[in-house]
């Protein structure tokens, strides 16, 4: 069933009895060509690109809970292509282009809103850094505009421009940056993959990865054994747990990132705004809540909740940036499990076990990567060659020291990103 305005009208006028389930609920088969472990954004996108780009549909996505119940189900929804280093620059640029065609591709409204993203800066040195960033974005073929103080004021009149510690010197505007509705992305990819014959298997936890003679032969699950020629681990913060089933240790440490939403407000923040004092970012959802977040809590965690010190720090940042936010009530908060790597950049690669593939290490930036990650992993699975947009996301770069992508320039070691 295709979604369009005419169908909406017809169904609305006839009691909405014609809608069909968005995806099937199939019984797992005994074997598939490819098994994707993880039914989140990246896993579902991979399944669809396998079907659409490569005609490979004998695929199962195995999700231990419900589709999209992980980090894709709760994040700060930011979509942007403003990375700096080779490896990241071309990847996120590609991802944004995929985002721009996504709703037409999937026949699903993911509410992709290219409202513009502004990185504020508060010193001459920070301006220099963002000028450099903007030039890198333009060199990549993307869009960047340098705003001076008045330029920022025209877009964001509610900021504390003369804050003594963080006066607003200006901002880097990325007009094509913005937000999207995170759930819709998962559902859109799931529906599209299912329509092409991919089996989406929920409530199916992988409990073992079968390896014989250095080659993967299948998985054990809570819904039975499934043979597979190729298996991909796409489980974000739980990558270490799943990889351990195959005897692998990963360069990943899982950390908690908190995020927050206020009560619904009339439109006040029309962009995505990031504060140059450190790690704070805010935007407004279409329901009216202000969606914001900051740093990791900075200790290893699978708890999916954080603690008060970082919560207070984020609230302090919000109040410093735009004191008017003090009028709003915070409605809810949550924490996700972030798969942190030593350089803060991701991994899309084969492993030392034949037929076992890895897509992880997204740290706290995986949402915007969903399309390009699925696209690149599908390419790798289908051809056993990395796609050119993700060729640098090597698993062995930490061991060799070659091709590290340390965007923050803090050092390629754990706990600095």
């Amino acid at each position: 069933m295709r979604y369009n305005a005419l169908r909406l009208l017809k169904e609305g006028l006839t009691g909405n009895r014609g809608w069909v389930p968005v995806w099937r609920d199939p019984v797992p088969q005994a074997a598939y060509d490819i098994v994707i472990i993880g039914g989140g954004g990246h896993g579902l996108a991979t399944a669809w690109y396998l079907a659409r780009e490569h005609g490979i549909t004998n695929v199962a996505v195995l999700e231990r809970g419900y589709l999209g119940g992980g980090n894709i189900g709760r994040n700060t929804t930011i979509v942007r292509a403003n990375y700096f280093l080779p490896g990241n620059a071309e990847f996120y640029s590609h991802s944004l282009k995929l985002w721009e065609g996504l709703e037409a591709d999937l026949n699903y409204n993911v509410m992709h809103s290219q409202r513009g993203l502004i990185n504020l800066f508060h010193s001459d040195g920070q301006r220099d850094a963002f000028v450099r960033r903007g030039n890198a974005m333009i060199a990549q073929g993307d869009d960047a505009v340098l705003l001076d103080r008045d330029g920022v004021r025209r877009h964001l009149p509610y900021l504390d421009f003369d804050n003594p510690r963080f006066p607003v010197y200006g901002g880097l505007l990325h007009p094509r940056g913005g937000t999207a509705r995170h759930d819709a992305v998962a559902w859109g990819y799931a529906r599209a993959a299912d329509r092409r014959g991919v089996d989406l298997i929920q409530q199916c936890e992988v409990t073992g990865i079968d390896v014989q003679g250095g080659r993967v032969t299948g998985v054990q699950t809570t819904r039975g054994a499934i043979r597979a020629k190729k298996v991909a681990i796409v489980t974000a913060g739980r990558s270490g747990q799943v990889a351990a089933l195959a005897g692998l240790r990963l360069p990943i440490e899982s950390h908690v990132l908190q995020a927050f939403v206020t009560e619904g407000l009339k439109p006040v923040i029309d962009h995505v705004v990031s504060f140059g004092m450190g790690h704070f970012y805010i935007s407004q959802s279409d329901k009216g809540g202000l969606v914001f977040g900051g740093d990791l809590d900075f200790y290893a965690s699978y708890a999916q909740r954080g603690n008060l010190p970082m919560m207070e720090h984020v609230m302090e940042a919000a109040m410093t940036l735009m004191p008017v936010i003090g009028h709003a009530n915070v409605l809810r908060s949550w924490g996700g499990i972030m798969d942190m790597t030593p350089d803060g950049s991701p991994i899309i690669d084969r492993t030392d076990i034949d037929g076992l593939y890895l897509d992880c290490g997204w740290c706290y930036g995986g949402f915007k990567a969903v399309p390009a990650s699925g696209f690149a992993l599908a390419h790798l699975l289908a051809t056993d060659r990395p796609h050119e947009t993700a060729a640098r996301f090597r698993l062995d770069r930490f061991r060799t020291g070659a091709g590290l992508m340390d965007e923050e320039g803090t050092g390629a070691q754990h706990n600095l990103h």
């Binding site: 270490g240 990963l250 699978y302 010190p309 754990h414 706990n415």
Partner: protein, 82 residues
């Protein structure tokens, strides 16, 4: 969240910095080889359960502490000098 420093007693989380997994205390010999060094620097058990952290009491006595902690519940099981 609090940690009980052996010298200072139970103190707020803000007084401490997490510096990584406690394996960092076991620095390999310089000639131990690439596999050992890669494991030490990069590879992690990363358990969903009991783990051993290295914390620094920077706003207190500056002790380096090994904390046994559950990463799922955040329960702190023990804090000893590193």
């Amino acid at each position: 969240m609090r940690l009980t420093c052996p010298f200072c007693g139970a103190r707020d989380l803000r007084e401490f910095s997490y510096t990584g997994a406690a394996v960092l205390c076991d620095r390999p010999a310089p000639d131990a080889g690439a596999d050992v060094w890669d494991s030490y620097l990069h590879l992690r058990d990363n358990p969903a359960g009991v783990t051993r952290d290295l914390w620094y009491h920077g706003a207190g006595c500056c002790a380096w502490l090994v904390v046994e902690r559950d990463t799922v519940s955040h329960a702190v099981l023990s804090v000893v000098l590193g």
